[in-house]
Amino acid sequence: MANKSVDFGKIINRSWEVTLKNKWLWVIGIVLAVFGGGAGGTNLYSNFSNAQKGTNSATSSSQFTDVIGNLLKSVPVATWVLLVLGFILIILFSVAVAWIIVSWAKGALIKGFDDAEKDKKVDLKILGSHGIASLKKLFIYNLISIGMFLAIMVGSLIVLFVLGVIFAFIPVVGVILMIPLWIIGFLGIFILVVLFAMISIYAERLIVLKNYSPWVAWKKGLSLSRGNFLHSLIMGIINTAIGCSVGCLSMLVLLIILGLPALLFAIPMFSGGSFHLPNIFQIIGIVVLVIFYFVANSVIRAFLIVFNYGNWNQLFWKVMKEELK
């Protein structure tokens, strides 16, 4: 495959055509936009960056006064234990449901786009059955993928800890190796995220379109992404570039279409140099504009997700054809 050239222009045109024609696929796109997993593969990078954001935004210290402290001390320990247990159960349940939704939507979109490309009928009922057909396998695959990613991350942390201990005893080595190790570390994480995303792109399609088992799909996905790294990278860059361009353009259009009326509603609130409470018409107007903005934004994102999945589907079939040769 590395020696063969891929007509990316043809892929993009076909994806655009199919995406425009099949509106039911947009519904699945909206689901993926809401619950994550819109990158054409697993959303490891966004998970990773979200986790980092979470740790950074932790509050510095609790601001409880003595009074509140005493009040909380009056609560029995069993209540706290049950509260934490209940909270953990709720979180686990929500994560499991979200995971099922994403797995279902991925299966539905991959197979649905494939059907649409072959000019077959695509509606919500058909998409629903496609999603259910590969739900279990995709769910297990996601567990394997995330598990492996976390295992590698934990392994890296252990190595980092060992190096830290060594550097503590031999500080000179620490000073010399500190900067190269940081660079290698960050580069390693970046490559790992990209590689896992690529593996998922191929593996998920192998599961849905070729009926592979999750573990075999992961191994085959790894070999495909290694053998077609450059093509996959170019496809990823094209998808990102189109996503950014369409995103910026649509934001600009929405700003003109919705921003100007919003301004007309807002100006009277600040007339005479002071703030006046908005009347009922202004409130309704602003609420309608905000709802319209969210709907338009969701639809654009859904369109882009379907388009991306279409591009990856076509690249996948090209790669598979070459593999068979």
């Binding site: 689901v31 609560v75 509260l83 209940g86 939704i101 279902w104």
Partner: protein
């Protein structure tokens, strides 16, 4: 599919289910509102949260169980409607769970258009019905009246509980106000000055 349930049957069933769910939570809030001390209120509020957490998880499995066992949730049973598969038979637990959780979330993902779809679709199927391949059918038209009566009773109980809760909170507002005051007026604890600080305080100020 024959005897498809109309939008009004479905909205009635939905309202009954929602009110039943809310009534239990409201009853617990009423229990919290009767607290006479701040400690009691805190304990009861946390107990309310615990019950709410476990109840929500239980409820998540209870409705699919009812659908798979009896053909519908309490609201659907009271309005004489049933959830069935294309063959007109009861759906299994997994499909019911899929319909009620994954399906509902998908229907709600774009401003609840998936639910409003019942008004547009020829077979009055929402997005969650289409995804889970289910239909909602009428088995007894006269049950609509029973549904209306159930809704009226539930609304009445709901109103009574809201009214009682507000009254209780108003009557016991003193404990919350006193608590807030105790936070505001609690004198700040002064630290015992160290020997160094005492020396600095006692040393004469140099005037330049």
């Amino acid at each position: 599919m024959k005897n498809i349930a109309s939008f009004w049957f479905r909205i009635l069933g939905f309202l009954i289910d929602w009110l039943i769910h809310m009534l239990l939570l409201l009853a617990l809030i009423l229990w919290v509102s009767t607290s006479s001390t701040m400690e009691e209120a805190t304990n009861r509020f946390l107990t309310f949260l615990i019950i709410d957490f476990f109840y929500s998880i239980g409820f998540a499995f209870f409705n699919p169980y009812l659908i798979s066992r009896f053909g519908g949730t309490i609201g659907k049973l009271l309005t004489g409607t049933r959830i069935v598969n294309p063959e007109g038979k009861k759906v299994n637990f997994y499909r019911a769970f899929f319909r009620n959780h994954i399906g509902y979330m998908i229907s709600a993902s774009l401003f609840w258009i998936g639910f409003i779809w019942i008004l547009i679709d020829k077979e009055r199927r929402s997005w969650h019905d289409q995804i889970a391949n289910t239909y909602v059918v009428k088995v007894n038209k006269t049950m609509f009246i029973v549904g209306i009566a159930a809704l009226a009773i539930l609304l009445g109980t709901y109103g009574y509980l809201v009214n009682s809760t507000v009254k209780n909170f108003s009557a016991n507002s003193g404990i919350y106000m006193n608590f807030l005051k105790s936070i505001e007026t609690k004198p700040q604890q002064t630290k015992t000055p160290t020997t160094e600080q005492l020396k600095l305080k006692s040393s004469p100020v140099k005037v330049q």
